[in-house]
Amino acid sequence: MNNTESEIDAKAVVISIKDLKKSFGSLNVLNGVNLDIFQGENIAVLGRSGSGKSVLIKIIAGLLKPDSGSVKVLGQEVDKISAKDLQALRLKLGFSFQSSALYDSMTVRGNLEFPLVRNRRNLSKKEINEAIEGVLDDVGLLDAINQMPSELSGGQRKRIGIARTLILKPEIMLYDEPTAGLDPITCIDINNLIIQVQKQYNTSSIIITHDLTCAKTTANQVAVLLEGKFFITGSFEEVFSSENANIKSFHDYNFISGV
């Protein structure tokens, strides 16, 4: 089970988004998004394809610039700080990409070693090896340490991608469609891993997903993005007790009626 309310620090806001707007040409993707995420909280962001969910977390990670509004991560405005400060902030952020984005010219060891060696230059070879093996053990893929990404299954690549973010011990995790394209059994493994990461690393997370089972299992709060804004925010039960047609069809497609 994910963190209970008592484990979430309601006073410590780790991500604060105020009136965020982003357009691509004439396409208004985000139309005034407001969201606060607290220390130790997992929040699932749901929405239709093209509703701006991935754009939202890329803005939080500083990969895209907002048109207007404020995005504060750990007290710093992401689009206003210097390059050096942004780089330091990113050490506290973990980003799990939908496609895993593993470096395909490096082995699993190389993928995990790359961010560690570049950002923790004072570590000895032994400490690096211990860190790599520790995080691979956490995701249950120690045996894959010398394999190339092309030799891994989709679920394995996803877990290695998560391991690569965990090696820097982030405070905030951003998951972009963590269960996309995976079979139900592997989805369960990924959901359990997200919960385990929250508990073991005491992270706060934003989980972008279409998978309501993932949202229900891993998230403390659910937010539904509609027409560029958060239409409704609350617990899974609160959100899906709504009579709104879009919300109902989202729920009914994921959970077959009567089952």
Binding site: L63, K65, I81, A101, Y103, D104, P115
Partner: protein, 266 residues
């Protein structure tokens, strides 16, 4: 502020779509080159990756450059002999081949080979990384992807091209010697003496400078096309193709320009 990987801005057509697009592309290339110089002269330096890229470029090109240099030397010598023989000037073959190889053939032929082999590889590699979000993954893990991927490759191509050009020149001269020795029974000592007597420091320096320019062009073209690739696998293929085509056009323009400058100095 670290430049975020934003999509290229929408083009507002002032004159026409084609002309506006051309000047917009020139502007983006200018910004790309400016960022290269900014990253290249700010620490920390990626020495290990630069050395790795130099090794990759050298090892990938060596076999083809060797063969091309050898064949160029042999063929040029063979084709030049009849014309010189008419005037009884066959003894000038080593000089003629040395001048042709060092001043023009070695830099140009080597650049075209490296543009095809290395330039396309860089375009495809970076393009593939771009469309699979590996560059973004590098950026969010607090690594500067431009410095690590682009700057290192451009520095490596700029450094390796002069070395490869000198090597091509050497191999070409060896090929020429084999041919001259077989036909005129010229000794190695006489061949080298004749060849070196016609080459000046200006020729060698101009050749090295030209090679460095070609290397820089190949690196920039390959990295620019790959780093800005879009639209999945089609974009990767386009990046690899454009890396070669653009490099080759620019290499020819640079060749003509530098030849004019060197001749004016001579």
């Amino acid at each position: 502020m670290q430049p975020a990987i934003n999509p290229l801005p929408e083009k507002k057509h002032v004159i026409s779509k084609g002309i506006d697009g051309f000047f917009l592309d020139i502007y983006h290339v200018y910004k790309f080159i400016a960022q290269f110089f900014k990253e290249a002269f700010s620490g920390p330096t990626e020495i290990k990756e630069i050395v790795n890229q130099c090794y990759q470029i050298g090892s990938k090109s060596l076999a083809l450059v060797s063969l091309t240099g050898l064949v160029t030397g042999i063929v040029f010598t063979t084709q030049s002999r009849p014309s010189l023989s008419v005037f009884g000037a066959s003894s000038w073959l080593p000089s003629l081949v040395a001048i042709a190889l060092i001043r023009a053939l070695a830099p140009l032929v080597t650049a075209l080979i490296v543009a095809g082999k290395v330039g396309s590889n860089i375009g495809a590699e970076l393009g593939s990384m771009k469309v699979t979000e590996q560059i973004e993954a590098m950026e969010v893990s607090a690594t500067n992807p431009f410095k690590f991927l682009v700057t290192t490759r451009i520095i490596a191509t700029t450094l390796m091209m002069p070395i490869l050009v000198l090597y091509t020149g050497f191999v070409g001269m060896m090929g020429s010697f084999l041919n001259v020795h077989q036909n005129e029974l010229t000794s190695f000592k006489a061949f080298v003496k004749s060849a070196l007597s016609s080459i000046s420091f200006l020729d060698i320096n101009a050749s090295i400078f030209k090679a460095a320019c070609f290397g820089f062009t190949i690196g920039v073209a390959g990295c620019y096309q790959g780093y800005n690739a879009q639209n999945g696998t089609q974009g990767v293929g386009r990046a690899a193709n454009l890396a070669v085509v653009v490099s080759m056009y620019l290499i020819f323009i640079e060749e003509i320009t530098i030849v004019q400058i060197v001749n004016a100095i001579r």
